[in-house]
């Protein structure tokens, strides 16, 4: 048998209802898909962004804020800790490398981070894709997405509490707080890291200290940049990123630097807490989306039941012409399944599209490149929806096939 001509005729007869049905199912499914894809993409992107920060040390305060500021460059004043810890770390055999991170200034809305060459290259892993690393206090290396050119000279401004700069935009607050005596020359550009550091301007930490009247951390004014720093002259720092020599020693270091006025943490442990919170929110959102889906499916089922009722005569004609109940059931079941499947397909595309739009927006706001990709999670959700839809279709089919055709046939 071939139910397709009648399925086509049915869908054509109810084309507007069919279109609305597909859209309603699509929207319902898209919500679930978008929540799932978005949450996963954010988790992966934030984890990727923290890869270069094995251990972060800061003054005791909020662990979350330390991670948000040190890893994700969220502008917030952190309490300072003794800069001599840099020297202690430099002498610790368990530490392969340690670099200060000094924040607070901006250039055209881009955060300026004072650090060392070692950290700029992520301990040798990266090299500038244009130009070179900074070699003097007045030189800067820019992240991949910074809209400045090599050779540009810029003047940093002091970040002000409550001011939310827009990357690439030099606003009034920035103009009012300019460090008039500091000029930086752009000498290099880093490769894309898909993290907020793509929008950062990296300068020698000595430059940050000098700009704020704290000396340069060395005994001599024009000595070489970077460690070791002079124990008596090194200023306090908000954060240090340390690279343990071995994985096993990471836990020892964390333990060591969780006392005597410092706090040490793995970004992952803070992220896990955030993911847990995100996961809980996601679970509730997915649950809400599922309830939403069930309500929409029930509403559509009722709509289709009504349509099947209105078509009783049409199906009676088929029976009169020699169609079996199975043929009629097949038409109705197949038609409903096509609608449900089309709705799920539309929902999948809409969901991913929505997740992509939200990710694009979040990337523009945070600099963290969030790239939602299709995953089995969504296909499982769609499979579940199509399964439920097929069950509904079978109910409809049974409804359409039951009863004697004679009454319906005579109108």
């Amino acid at each position: 048998m071939n139910p397709l001509p009648m399925v086509w005729a049915d869908l054509r007869a109810m084309r507007w209802s069919a279109l609305i049905t597909v859209l309603l199912i699509g929207i319902a499914v898209a919500i679930g898909v978008a929540v799932s894809a978005q949450e996963r993409a954010m988790r992966q992107a934030s984890a990727r962004a923290s890869d270069d920060f094995p251990l972060i040390i800061g003054a005791p305060s909020s662990q979350t804020q330390l991670v948000l500021t040190a890893v994700y460059l969220q502008a917030e004043a952190l309490p300072l800790m003794d800069g001599n810890i840099l020297n202690t770390l430099a002498q610790d055999p368990r530490v392969a490398g340690a670099a200060p991170l000094a924040y607070g200034d901006i250039v055209q809305g881009y955060p300026v981070v004072g650090t060392t060459q070692n950290f700029v290259t992520r301990w040798g892993r990266l090299q500038p894709i244009e130009g070179r690393l900074f070699e003097q206090e007045n030189e800067a290396v820019i992240g991949f997405s910074v809209k400045l050119a090599l050779g540009d000279a810029v003047m940093p401004s002091h970040g002000v509490a409550g001011h939310a700069p827009t990357p690439g935009v030099a606003d009034e607050a920035e103009a009012e707080n300019r460090h008039e005596h500091t000029q930086l020359k752009i000498v290099g550009r880093l490769p894309q890291l898909n993290s907020p550091w793509d929008r950062a301007i990296l300068i020698p930490v000595e430059s940050v200290w000098e700009t704020h009247g704290l000396g340069n951390g060395h005994r001599m004014d024009d000595g070489p940049l970077g460690p070791p720093f002079d124990a008596e002259k090194v200023p306090n720092v908000p954060a240090i990123v340390a690279k343990p020599a071995q994985v096993a020693q990471a836990y020892q270091l964390r333990s060591t630097y969780r006392q005597n006025g410092t706090m040490a943490l793995f970004p992952a442990e803070v992220l896990v807490q955030l993911y847990q919170a995100m996961g809980n929110v996601k679970e509730w959102l997915v649950l809400a989306a599922m309830i939403n889906n069930i309500i929409v499916f029930l509403a559509i089922l009722l709509l289709l039941v009504t349509l099947v009722g209105l078509r009783r005569r049409r199906y009676a004609i088929l029976r009169a012409l020699g169609a079996t109940r199975g043929y009629v059931a097949c038409i109705v079941g197949l038609g409903a399944t096509i609608l449900m499947t089309a709705g799920c397909g539309v929902g999948l595309v809409m969901g991913w599209g929505g997740a992509w739009l939200v990710s694009h927006f979040l990337t523009s706001q945070t600099g963290i490149v969030i790239d939602p990709r299709p995953s089995m999670d969504e296909f499982r959700l769609i499979g579940l929806m199509i399964g439920i839809g097929s069950l509904c279709a079978m109910l409809l089919a049974a409804l359409a096939a039951r009863g004697e055709p004679t009454t319906a046939l005579r109108g």
Binding site: N2, M6, R313, L318, L321, T324, R325, P405, L409
Partner: protein, 223 residues
């Protein structure tokens, strides 16, 4: 076809049984042209439904050759119906979204995926013979006379042995009714099919071999 002791009973709103059709004995020879006359609601359509195997009588038997219809299950009756019976209805009952051709070959789709080349050609020949042009037109845009001709072609596509027509001209104007009646008799003669028509139309009934009157569910002697 032989109907013997057939009755159809239904329940009224109080649950009491009443008889809507009673046929003591009716024998229809192959190739006969039988008319069913009688007032509306007398039971003509119910009798056609019984003959088509759409309605299983409460008592009695309907026999087609060696086959007792009431012994068949629902599916077997559907297969029997599409094998031996063609039906034409007062309201044509086409599928308006399908083309003329798709409507005509629709009964083939109950048992096979695509019509064979021969079947498709037969459908086109029928459409042509019945004076219809452009088999690709949708049924929804056809005139009533054209729709009834498509219904006739659909009824004949599987070369039925018996053609049941329920008020086939009641929804047509006089000119279309005359045309459809002529076509109906022509094609039945060509296909050597048995023709049973329920109608109020004296012009049709006058062309039948026998006319049975159905009054209050009772089949009366042929005239």
């Amino acid at each position: 076809m032989i109907l013997s002791g057939v009755s159809v009973q239904r329940r009224d709103s109080n649950g009491r049984l009443f008889t809507t059709l009673s046929v003591a004995d009716l024998s229809i020879p192959a190739g006969a042209r039988i008319g069913l006359a009688g007032p509306s609601g007398a039971g003509k359509s119910t009798l056609l439904d019984v003959m088509a195997g759409l309605l299983v009588p409460s008592t009695g038997t309907v026999t087609w050759g060696a086959t007792v219809l009431s012994d068949l299950c629902d599916r077997e009756r559907a297969v029997w119906r599409r094998t031996y019976v063609g039906q034409v209805f007062q309201d044509f009952l086409l599928i308006p979204e399908l083309s003329i051709l798709a409507n005509v070959v629709l009964p083939l789709s109950f048992s096979q995926f695509w019509p064979s080349g021969d079947q498709r050609q037969r459908a086109l020949d029928l459409i042509h013979d019945l004076g219809l042009k452009d088999a690709g037109r949708r049924a929804a845009v056809l005139s009533r006379g054209e729709q009834q001709r498509v219904a006739l072609a659909r009824a004949l596509i599987l070369r039925p042995s018996i053609l049941l027509a329920d008020e086939p001209t009641a929804s047509l104007d006089q000119a279309s009714a005359a045309l459809v009646t002529d076509l109906l008799f022509d094609v039945v003669r060509q296909h050597q099919a048995t023709l049973i028509i329920a109608s109020h139309d004296p012009a049709i009934l006058s062309r039948m071999d026998h006319v049975h009157h159905v009054v209050a569910g009772q089949l009366q002697e042929a005239s």
